[in-house]
């Protein structure tokens, strides 16, 4: 299972990471109880600062996707409840809408880009 981070992308690296890990958990590719790499390992592999990966993990933990325990590392907790997911979806849409406005592209192009990625 691979994650990809583009340092020059529109979304900040921690957000790219958070989105991809959450997607892997939702699709079941990362099953409940699966151990994630340590913050330092992932940061080194991606050439990012540890704080960037730590922020992605922290947000995923707040959302209920993962659980970190001292001495046990970080493990997948599961897919959060539906209302929480809806909230996240609206929030993600807001972030995307902001990026679309910044880029100045029209609605059709923006939706086509989303369809391509999904």
């Amino acid at each position: 299972m691979i994650v990809e981070v583009d340092p020059d992308g529109v979304a900040p690296p921690y957000e790219q990471l958070r989105t991809q890990i959450a997607a892997h958990i939702r699709s079941g590719e990362l099953p409940v109880g699966e151990r994630l790499p340590s913050i330092r390992q992932l940061a080194r592999d991606l050439g990012l600062a540890s704080g960037t990966v730590a922020r992605a993990y922290r947000e995923l933990e707040t959302e209920g996707y993962i659980r970190g325990r001292v001495g046990h590392g970080t493990v997948v907790k599961g897919v959060p409840e539906v209302p929480e997911r809806d909230e996240r979806l609206v929030e993600a849409a807001r972030v995307y809408a902001r990026a679309v406005r910044e880029l100045g592209v029209d609605l059709d192009t923006a939706l086509a880009a989303v369809r391509r990625v999904l």
Binding site: M1, V3, E4, D6, R35, L36, D45, G47
Partner: protein
């Protein structure tokens, strides 16, 4: 004259072998032993790794051998040669890594652990030898030997064993935590093989040193130990010597 030949002949041979250029046959043998297909991108990575690691290990071994023989250090030239080899192998690891490609970076969401790369003997051998070293260290306190200097010999041997173990774990830490960006399947596989090979070489040579140091501790003084414990005490140093040979010639080079 014979003494000088003894000091210089072995290191000279080791250095010549270590600095030989990596030919196609050497590369093919390494690739075959690890079920690896050599391609243009991973071929250059493998050649660089094989050349660098061979140079560092042979330089370390030669320096260790000469130091041990010249300064008549505790142990012998073989022991110090192996110690130099281990230090050289560790030194080579500081320069080994896959470079991050420009543009988007990719990584695997998998936790890396040293046990995924090591054989069972390399994983558990050091733990068992440390337990045996602790037993050997405890024995003269329980059955004090008559000759002087046993405490110095025991402390020196146990410190050497612990030192080799510390180098082993430092090597594991260094190699497993090295960045592993996802580049292409052939380069990724070559990186896995390089890690595996380095961990086995460091694991095997450190284990051999630990066995030699532990056997030296038991050979250092004669104990009057009764019963079954006495039989174990008499047999352990020879067993440790056999284990050192096994670690050097099997564990170090196993795939």
């Amino acid at each position: 004259m014979t003494q000088l030949a003894h000091i210089l002949a072995v290191p000279a041979i080791v250095l010549i072998l270590g600095y030989l250029p990596i030919g196609r046959r050497r590369l093919a043998a390494f690739a075959t032993s690890h079920d690896l297909t050599v391609t243009v991108p991973n071929g250059s990575l493998l050649i660089a790794y094989l050349a660098r690691s061979a140079r560092w290990r042979s330089t370390g071994a030669a320096l260790g051998w000469v130091s041990g023989a010249t300064f008549v250090l505790h142990g012998n030239a073989f022991f110090w040669g192996a110690a130099g080899y281990l230090l050289g192998a560790l030194g080579a690891e500081f320069r080994t890594s896959v470079r991050l490609p420009p543009g988007p970076r990719r990584a695997e969401l998998v936790q890396r652990r040293s046990k995924d790369y090591l054989s069972r003997a390399a994983r558990w051998g050091p733990v068992i030898v440390l337990a045996i070293a602790a037993f050997e260290f405890w024995m003269p306190f329980r059955y004090p030997p008559e000759q002087d200097g046993w405490l110095t010999a025991a402390v020196l041997s146990v410190v050497t064993t612990a030192g080799a173990a510390a180098l082993l774990w430092a090597g594991r830490w260094l190699i497993v935590r090295r960045p592993r960006p996802v580049v292409s399947p052939d380069v990724d596989r070559a990186d896995e093989v390089i890690r595996m090979s380095s961990l086995q070489i460091i694991g095997g040579s450190a284990l051999a040193l630990m066995c030699l140091a532990t056997s030296g501790m038991a050979f250092g003084y004669a104990l009057e130990v009764p019963g079954l414990l006495g039989t174990v005490q008499t047999g352990l140093p020879y067993l440790m010597l056999l284990c050192a040979l096994y670690a050097w010639f099997r564990v170090r080079v196993s795939r």
